[in-house]
């Protein structure tokens, strides 16, 4: 007897099953797990690759390689056709849906979808925070990062990749006190970043290229076409892709949440964005850093231009709401649940959560 047959109590008529399941799920979900947090219950999940193209390499020498100790040498001919520039997407569906459309989380430069998962110090990330509240959540790794895979360079991707040192995010993401601060591990007083877990965070950094923007935009646009209408939550570099994909297919985007967006694309293209509610969030210590002040200023100008064109864009400085200490990595800061709450409330106020 295969083990799964044990799961079939014959007493319950199959027609009743869906109703009973719905009732039981509802009961489970109104029962608080630990009084404060709604329980996590995922009833659907999966993954796929989207987009991409074929690329051919010629003129490279053939190699003989032993792939594993004791194995026969294998002749590796690097010339041939490769599948490149695809994008990995993983999704989870809650047992009881309350979000009216899925939430798509698009990470920033040098990172992957992992930024939205468990925080480096082991707390809950935004992926499960929103799943608990009944949102379908899609994480993805941008083209050439993480599980999307990367292509031979300079043959296919015509440039060198960029690698982030351990010092770089510490000094550049408003965790440490600016250039040179990694050496002394000097952190901004009051930072919400879990600095004890900073080294563990750096394990999730991945190389990136700066010549793959078009391919990434294309893959994200395809993702929206496939799973939209949706809400896109984008971090830093991801915001550029979010704005571009929204311009390409505005009917597929119910709202955009931009976490410290760093660039905005063509300013003449604002009409397409008019119907999309946009929330931008900025953390703390911006004014202490000329680079972040400039990023913030560029955002202010863009949102102003968007409003002038009839759009609905709202930029929120978290300190103005008395939420203090946030770094550029606010989705993993110690108060990440509080910041998620700002997004959740804004989405609910726009009728996107029931």
């Amino acid at each position: 007897m295969p083990p799964e047959t044990r799961f079939k109590p014959r007493a319950i008529p199959p027609t009743l099953t869906p109703m009973l399941r719905a009732l039981l799920l509802w009961l489970l979900l109104v029962l608080p797990a630990r009084a404060e947090e709604p329980p996590l219950l995922v009833s659907g999940m999966g993954s796929f690759h989207i987009g991409g193209r074929e690329a051919t390499v010629t003129g490279r020498p053939v190699r003989e390689v032993t792939l594993a100790p004791g194995a026969r040498p294998v002749r590796i001919d690097p010339n041939g056709t490769y599948r490149v520039d695809g994008m990995y997407v993983q999704f989870h569906h809650p047992a009881q849906r309350r979000g009216r459309v899925p939430l798509l989380f698009w990470h920033g430069g040098g990172m992957t979808g992992v930024v939205w998962e468990t925080t480096p110090d082991g707390r809950e990330g935004w992926q499960t925070w929103f799943l608990r509240r009944g949102w379908s959540v899609y994480l993805s790794d941008a083209v050439e990062r993480g599980r999307s895979g990367w292509a031979m360079f300079p043959d296919i991707t015509p440039a060198e990749p960029i690698f982030l040192t351990m010092a770089d995010p510490w000094e550049r993401f408003r965790i440490g006190t600016g250039p040179g601060s990694w050496r002394s591990r000097s952190a901004i007083p009051g930072t919400q970043f879990p600095t004890d877990a900073y080294e563990r965070f750096t394990a999730q950094l991945v190389p990136r290229w700066i010549v793959t923007d078009a391919a990434a935009t294309e893959a994200y646009t395809q993702l929206l076409r496939q799973v939209g209408p949706a809400v896109v939550v984008a971090h830093a570099q991801g915001s550029l892709y979010a704005l571009r994909a929204a311009r390409a297919d505005p009917g597929r985007v119910r709202a955009l949440v931009l976490i410290e967006p760093t660039s905005f694309g063509a300013p003449e293209d604002l009409q397409a964005l008019r119907g999309i509610p946009i929330l931008a969030l900025y953390g703390d210590f911006i004014e202490q850093d000329p680079r972040w002040s400039a990023v913030h200023e560029r955002g202010a100008q863009f949102f102003e231009a968007l409003r002038a064109a009839g759009g609905q864009a709202e930029a929120v400085d978290l300190p103005a709401r008395d939420i203090r200490g946030n770094s550029h990595l606010m989705m993993m800061d110690r108060n990440n649940a509080q910041v998620a709450g700002v997004i959740q409330e804004w989405l609910a106020a726009r009728g996107l959560w029931e």
Copy 2:
């Protein structure tokens, strides 16, 4: 009012909540979702990076790079210290556990943990097949692959990576009819691989190195130490890591399932493996390919030596059980659920599932 307060019915005393939750979950799980399959219900999930080290790069030139259109150029100094050789791990826990220990899935060369997720043609993979049956499931990306990130080469990883062409797995994994068969798309008659989705499958291939064996072994051994005792299900190259990690810490391994293992490590080290039940699975068409016949023969010799040393190793040729047509990628073949059933039955017979 923050939205989550809606989840708190005050009528139910908090002390009753865990009992009620358990009762409801049990009811849900004895109710078949669609008569045949137990429902998927995940109540815990997360991810982390494990292992790794710091490595320093010197003597590379500084570059000025514009990270996003419109952004200020940034000075990128590639010299410095990097976090490298870590391993990404993602886990899901079922609402009602029936597996006595977690299942750790370790992928083969040129791939990532994605091989265990949804199949390229959109069917269920082994990750959720086993989750439905109450196993905790851990997927990981080997060191330098996927979300584990990769390091600068040759500075840190002292070799060139290997890239798999689209033709390579088709011709080498017993999907096509051997060398040269990709050009004509000629598939082995009776193959269970979803050949229509082969191109989509190639999107999940990633580059790999052959000089990172020690780092991968170290990360897998750490993973076992952290989440074991466990059952390890390993594919191809992953089998070498599974055997090595089991030798390093045999008390942490309740059973090993090796899917077409390609190498076995040091033959003198068999004593450590004696107490661990081992199941090896081989697909179809092995005898038609001299490379796979050799792989199969090496396995037979290893398992024979292990049994002679008092160990418990069982090699199953699926065709001998009338399960036909399986490629080297049996976890995504069309009959992948049937193959999973062989593993499930074997684990249940060893008291690892209740």
